[in-house]
Symmetry: C2
Subunit: 585 residues, 2 copies
């Protein structure tokens, strides 16, 4: 199994040369932040990812999680790595400084998150959910709840979970039936069953903070009758010490395709004591405040896996000797040439790399706007909000779809060995597959993009994003490339505007194609922009390969946008012409 | 987990209405064969696949294979199902009647093989390899070897294996180093290690016939020095009884992503006694005679899995209630509508079905030409040979690539449940993934198509295939459809002709795109042809849904051909502009 190495050179290029992060921090008044700090954090993050959790990735998959006397046992080494992680403050990177958080910019934290995903997605998941819990409590919990819980989930002394899904209520949360009955003391008795709960239990910490969606008595039907509750695994006394075990239990651990090192639990709440977070019946709104973050983070999981798969495939392609290259003998001293000289293998490697690095550029642009949203206010913040809203489903769905493609190429480059577990390439395919599903399936992301983000905002969010990409295009110095970028943006604008007139059924049928069209187009503009920056980059060897990769993207991958455009324009008819009887006739 | 039901209606349409199999059998003088017999065999095959092996698919995956005291133990029930299979003669469908084979046409056997793959790919694999062994012995073994072994592998009393791959010699067989030293009695002592040997051992039969590639002393280097040997697990006495155990042993069973019910073995040959099959140093030629068959059979694995995944997804989509359909409430008596009413779910289901049924049409056309090759001679047989040679890599690679896409849609329709093992959808993704790799990776298939089949035959095989599809197009009665079919064929012809001028490096870079271009185009012509036949089909309910599916293929999937065409024309430059230092700089 190839050793993961964090792509620090690529991050340095993106931060320093492409995003010009020092000017960015200055402009948004991110006090004390600069590129030196950023790269130092990334270096340390790389050490942790490469040295502490990457070595546990394969053994975690093989060992999986077990339920022992009602308690979850995670794979060997996972808990110890977590204790190192929180001791070194990684869990607190984004936390509120009033509760001992480090309050770092997203442009510093997000590269570290990508590395964690590359190194060990199963391990990373628990901390990601804890960060979502932090966000929810920071934005919506009462002062009293914050004072008890927030510092401990920021430091990682306790982890957090998100309890939304029920067996009959997945995509459609309006169907959920877990109930919350008021107790006399102002708390609530929570009763119901939740499924697919990541890290519903673990053996890392002595308490867990569950956030649970439930219905109050006489709450309105549908999503407007859902409230959010904090349900601790162990009750917390006034002095912060732990009290009795709450009535929360793990029913079982799911047997999954992948992320086997992450305990996905069926949770039973049986008159468990919970505390209201936010307003009554506003639980879904609370959830939505962290949806952008969680969905982007899932996109980042795809990106991390794609990087790991590309690295594995490249390592193998350089080592594996089979046949002679069609362009002529490359390694005359060997019995055969390394397969990296096979054009078809190069095509696969370039596809992996161009999709991965193009997606990484988009993720770092996203991080930049998360910073702007965090450090500015007023119009600038509102504009950043719009950009983030539009790009969130794009990042979530595109990065995870492309990760499935990229990691399957990773298997293919290995040939038969790619299918054998010990080589580690098939695990990446299995692990990343869930990212296309959770936090809203990619179909739901596409519906979100074409619905809430495009048509229901009457194009406002698209326009805000268009402004950003127009600025990027304006900065491209090579005239032909600038022209191409503007042409791409005009086409995207026109296609999006045309959809404002389409009905809901039409939009639903073409939503995934619209999302893919947008993704390939915008990443195309980013590659044109990076191709403009790369000739001035100090690391010439790195720049040379990346320029070739960008040119490959433009000639061999960007054309996919046209296929999706055609489907957006003409693909709805054949879908919507069908009746139920056409399927079950 | 949804119950597999063999697509007998679709097979009946393809055989009776579309291929007009009665006229076909008459024309090629397939004595005693008619559509009544064909459908009766298919009915019985469906019963076996649905009733005997489909129920073992999931348990076989969970249980896997074990090595106990050097012997392979297969999952519970696998051996008993095999004994039923051979008792009912299924193993002998295609066998030589001189050795108790049934000598059925391919157009009858291939649908049964597809069903076996849908029902339980792991179980099916062993019998597929035995059929390859039968083919090799029938065509190349001496009379003496045939008399001892052939009837037993045709009946299935013994199974067969193919031993090609060695750790350092996968795609490149020229590197293989297993050696064969002549013994005094005319046999050979075989010594070496083979990997990835399907059913290298099993607990189904009392003997196994291994076919092993090895080098004679002083054999020429490379592939021209490889010979084929028959190595029995147990020696066979003159009276047919079993003698001593041969020096063949299983080193280990591979831990794989899928097909876990199939024992993939590391085999050790240590002066094992073997017998030459065919001429000295002609082992690769012997292998090539069964390559078409084995590669097509792997394609059929993809087709079978795709069908199983589509059935599972459709069943779930009709049952699962989530949200309301965007076009309006569909099930007012329920709290939500079945997701089959969601346009995006329909898009996924239609993609699954259109790819699967389009591929099935191509597989049955292939079967028709296998029949022609079997029952005719002279020019007609040579023409069929060319068509089969051209279509083999197309079927192998396209069916298995599309199966990965289709089975991933199967997961996606299920949402989170698709990722959970008990629902069975993720197993299909894991099981089919190997089919893109073994019997030559799909990259090798593409190289075979654009190399040996297209350019090295100077277009002859493509032209023969073009003749066949031109006949099909000529029979389309709707003028616009006929015109479209001819336009597709002209474009394919021109693109192929242009490649005859391209150099090897260019062809290698665009080979996969050429294969995909050809696949989408030819299947497009077949859908146009089926759309012409369907209005005259007796089963109106079936025809209505299939017509919608064909129209979806033409509007939503056929455009993919243009993307691949563009890559064939323009995609080589960016690939071949790269140097090694661009990847490892």
């Amino acid at each position: 199994m190839p050793q993961y190495q964090a792509p620090l050179t690529d991050f340095a290029f993106l931060l320093n040369d492409w995003l010009q992060i020092d000017e960015h921090y200055q402009r948004i008044n991110a006090a004390g932040m600069d590129s030196e700090l950023a790269l130092e954090v990334l270096n340390q993050g790389a050490k942790f990812a490469e040295g502490e959790i990457a070595p546990l990735n394969q053994s975690g998959d093989e060992q999986g999680c077990r339920l022992v006397d009602g308690n979850v046992a995670t794979p060997d080494g996972f808990a110890a790595a977590y204790h190192t992680y929180i001791a070194n403050g990684w869990n607190a990177m984004l936390g509120d400084p009033n509760y001992d958080g480090q309050d770092l910019p997203y442009s510093i934290a997000i590269p570290v998150h990508e590395m964690l995903n590359s190194a060990n997605l199963s391990w990373r998941l628990t901390t990601m959910l804890t960060e979502s819990t932090v966000l929810a409590l920071t934005k919506h919990a009462s002062q009293a709840l914050k004072d008890i819980y927030l510092a401990k989930v920021i430091s990682g002394e306790w982890t957090g979970t998100m309890n939304l899904t029920e067996p009959h209520a997945g995509t459609d949360l309006s169907l959920l039936s877990t109930k919350a009955d008021p107790n006399d003391d102002g708390s609530y008795a929570i009763t119901g069953n939740k499924i697919f709960i990541t890290a519903g239990d673990q053996d890392w910490t002595n308490n867990i903070v569950h956030l649970v969606l439930a219905r109050l008595p006489n709450a309105p039907a549908g999503v407007k009758g859902i409230s959010l509750f904090l349900v601790p695994k162990f009750m917390v006394n006034a002095d912060g010490s732990l009290g009795a075990k709450n009535s929360v239990s793990v029913g079982s651990i799911e047997h999954k395709m992948g992320i086997k090192g992450s305990p996905t639990c069926v949770m039973n709440y049986d008159d468990a004591i919970g505390y209201l977070v936010g307003e009554e019946n506003a639980g879904l709104a609370c959830m939505f405040t962290m949806m952008n973050d969680a969905r982007f983070q899932v996109g980042l999981q795809g990106l991390g896996i794609a990087e790991a798969s590309y690295q594995g495939a490249l390592t193998y392609a350089v080592e594996r000797l089979q046949s002679r290259a069609p362009q002529g003998i490359q390694a005359p001293e060997q019995k055969a040439d390394p397969i990296v000289f096979q054009p078809d293998v190069r095509r696969m490697l370039l596809t992996q790399r161009a999709l991965t690095e193009g997606s990484r550029a988009l993720s770092m642009l996203y991080a930049k706007f998360m910073d702007i949203e965090k450090y500015t206010d007023g119009e600038e913040q509102a504009h950043a909000d719009h950009v983030i809203a539009y790009l969130t489903p794009v990042c979530k769905a595109f990065f995870t779809d492309m990760a499935t493609e990229v990691s399957n190429y990773g298997i293919q480059v290995y040939g038969g060995h790619g299918y054998i577990r010990e080589w580690g390439m098939e695990q990446l395919v299995r692990d990343t597959r869930i990212a296309q599903i959770y936090e809203g399936t990619n179909g739901i992301q596409a519906a979100d993009l074409i619905g809430r983000k495009l048509t229901r905002s009457n194009g406002t969010m698209m326009q805000a994003t268009h402004d950003v990409f127009t600025d990027i295009a304006n900065n491209i110095t090579v005239a032909a490339n600038q022209q191409q970028a503007h042409a791409l943006l005009a086409e995207w604008h026109n296609l999006s505007q045309a959809l404002l007139e389409a009905n809901a059924e039409h939009c639903a049928a073409v939503a995934c194609d619209y999302l893919n069209y947008v993704s390939y187009t915008l990443i195309g503009v980013l590659w044109l922009s990076m191709l403009d920056t790369l000739p001035n980059t100090a690391n010439r060897a790195y720049a040379k390969g990346k320029i070739k990769t960008g040119e490959f993207y433009l000639s061999n991958l960007l054309p996919r946008a046209q296929l999706h455009k055609q489907a957006v324009e003409q693909g709805a008819n054949a879908v919507n012409a069908t009746e139920l009887s056409d399927f079950i006739g």
